[in-house]
Symmetry: C2
């Protein structure tokens, strides 16, 4: 079956917001095995909206619309879709009640125009919106399915996952099942070449490669009459990928991020950690703190951006700073050592580098970064050379730091185990 | 004149990449005063591409296409556009030479398919691509302008700014000039109501309101026969807005961010600063460190996420923590006081709050945040209640902290000046 994605909103046409809904919906449709040949954006204009929906109906079986379901006169998506499908609107009592409750819970006053959101086309499936007041709507007729969703991603995504995705999966023939193998510490092109033969030979399951900053995700997707069968197809391929990438696979759970994998690894080994950042300036600690429950393992973070703070806060000697410069293997090492002592943690991670755009020299160019990892007194320093903007270099540094920390902990425990050493 | 924006690429239809080119081009077209009613995405399929271009030609004067200019067989945008416009392709020698040079400079070998990129439609304007091998192309005929640009933003943006934008400006009648008044510490709806009369009465210049997290931007845009005239129209409106929002206006320079305004204010007053973060976990320091030259004023950052680190690193008494809880006015105050003493800075900013999704109670719900500001010993604590996801609450906290810091510094100096106090 084919799908067409239409985002509605003048703010997208003016470039005030990026159309992330289209990317999100497109990715989910690809997962469902639905073919998408067109995406459109149209403003809050009834005539153009109707034209766009009509055209989409000639090209696709399923039309996903987002935006334009708000309470104002400008919000016209529902009205336009109903007109195209020849439906009249009626007041949907459960939606009215949901809106009333939504406002009551927040101690807000309802204005008259809010009831507009409870009007739905006759014969439509009304989909609950736990995050807002505009219900989702599905109008199905003559093998065509027109799906209306609210524009804010905070409302659209939960609604799509809870209600729309199962509906679409029901339309698709058979079941689609995906599993993602997430890899760190291996570059994109190397990872691609390592699975080239599998990709060339793929049919069911398929393998798709997604490069993230400092990570590569391999998504294995199978289609089968039922979920059990689909899982059976995915399993051996995931096993094969785990075999090829070994320890670089940090998870096969789509919900687990690299920072969560690191926090879990720390927790499993009862290790406490601190960060000490120069070029990343707090981004590393901020990313770790994204993980719920991090307070069990993460103790303190230091941002020692200036040389003075490296000296005063960490007690790094002036002569070492002068001799090697702040961006050096030695300073990354000193930072990792002194921070762990100061915070009294088992583990510490340090970053120091030149994020640019200025400050580069022929010997120490923009993008040169040192990352230090201290695991129970054993310090490893990695030299990296990143490319791109100041932002990109700093983000790459954070990912590389998480990846290195994971590697150093695994390494430490494998040696402790095999070498008979004790922590 | 009207414009339609078409992004070409199967990777966008699959949701593998977000269509940021469309947002970029849309924003620039709005600046140029071009009306955009449609954006489309289509894959690398000649038939569908041709259909999409044909349809766009019925709806708009200018068609901006991005993507599909690469050297492979999949890249079909140029071929499709040439067919629609009835043009044949020929080998453009200067483009061939530019491609040869591009490869020579990088010590790369040219493969035969690279010459495909030097083929251009007869009669087209060929636009240099300093960042890559695919030249830009403009086909103009019968009052229609079809513009082809490479897909990678690193090639598209410089090409657009250098060559395409002046071309489009030449098509538009007159000159467009904009200035942005950036405001912090005033909510979106309050800011909108404060300019409602101006927006209602607007003609030339126009006022557009953009809400950012913790900020509101007001863009004043005028059209006139020349730049001088346009600036003359913008100036009194900017003055009016500055009068209405007073100290809440932190800049009228589109390049200046809130963090830069804060860093500049610190530098102008020769103040040094540190951060001490709990719920924001390093995001505040990371944002300050975005500003080049920040090392003059920013000394150290502390991430004291756990109670233990608040005690050990900052020396906050256990009984204060027990009595008030980590998320409290008192702890925000203690954090701001102790951090400034520890880092020996004039100024410090602290954050402590419940970012969620868990950890909220009826007394201290998710979104409750305290921000402390210490300016030369005078500590101000602000209680905030934010809404949304964990991420949104933390980002709102960072913006509010920057805004509060700015306010406290301005307040301090106005009192020092008027009250005759000395720093």
């Amino acid at each position: 079956m084919t799908v067409e994605i239409i985002a509605v909103g003048t703010e997208i046409l003016l470039g005030n917001i990026v159309n992330t809904n289209a990317a999100y919906l497109a990715e989910k449709c690809a997962e469902l095995g639905l073919s998408c040949y067109h995406q459109d954006v149209v403003g809050d204009n009834e005539e153009r909206l109707m034209e766009t929906i009509r055209l989409a109906l000639t090209r696709a079986d399923i039309i996903l619309l987002s935006g334009g379901l708000g309470p104002t006169q400008d919000d016209l998506t529902k009205e336009a879709a109903a007109k195209v499908m020849g439906k009249t609107l009626y007041l949907h009592e459960p939606s009215k009640e949901a809106i009333r409750q939504f406002f009551a819970e927040r101690n807000l006053e309802i204005t008259e125009n809010n009831w507009k959101q409870a009007m739905v086309p006759e014969g439509a499936v009304v989909v609950e919106n736990p995050g807002g007041t505009a219900p989702g709507i599905i109008i199905a007729e003559n093998g065509k399915h027109v799906v209306l969703m609210p524009g804010p991603p905070g409302e659209l995504i939960p609604m799509f996952e809870k209600s729309i995705m199962p509906y679409l999966a029901g339309l698709a023939s058979g079941v689609i099942y995906s599993q993602t193998v997430k890899i760190c510490g291996v570059g994109e092109s190397k990872a691609e070449s390592m699975v080239e033969d599998l990709v060339d030979a793929q049919s069911n399951p398929t393998i798709a490669t997604y490069a993230k900053i400092g990570e590569v995700h391999l998504r294995v997707t199978a289609t089968a009459p039922d979920e059990k069968e689909a899982k059976k197809l995915v399993k051996p391929m995931v096993k094969e990928l785990k075999g090829r990438f070994g320890n670089h696979v940090y998870t096969t759970d789509s919900e687990v991020t690299l920072e969560k994998a690191v926090v879990d690894l720390l927790a499993a080994n009862k290790l406490t950690a601190c960060t000490v950042e120069s070029c990343t300036g707090g981004m590393l600690s901020a990313r770790l703190i994204n993980v719920p429950g991090v307070s069990e393992v993460f103790k303190s973070g230091y941002v020692t951006y200036s040389n003075k703070s490296k000296r005063k806060l960490l007690g790094i000697k002036k002569n070492i700073l002068m001799k090697h410069g702040a961006v050096s293997e030695q300073i990354a090492r000193e930072m990792a050592k002194t921070a762990a002592a100061l915070a009294r943690t088992d583990v510490s991670v340090s970053t120091t580098g030149i994020a640019g755009p200025d400050g580069g020299t022929p010997e120490k160019p923009v993008g040169l970064v040192y990352i230090g990892c201290n695991v129970c007194g054993r310090v490893t320093v990695k030299e990296c050379r990143f490319h791109g903007s100041r932002e990109k270099i700093r983000e790459s540094t954070v990912s590389a730091a998480l990846s290195l920390l994971r590697e150093c902990i695994l390494q430490y425990y494998s040696e402790v185990t095999f070498g008979g050493k004790e922590k």
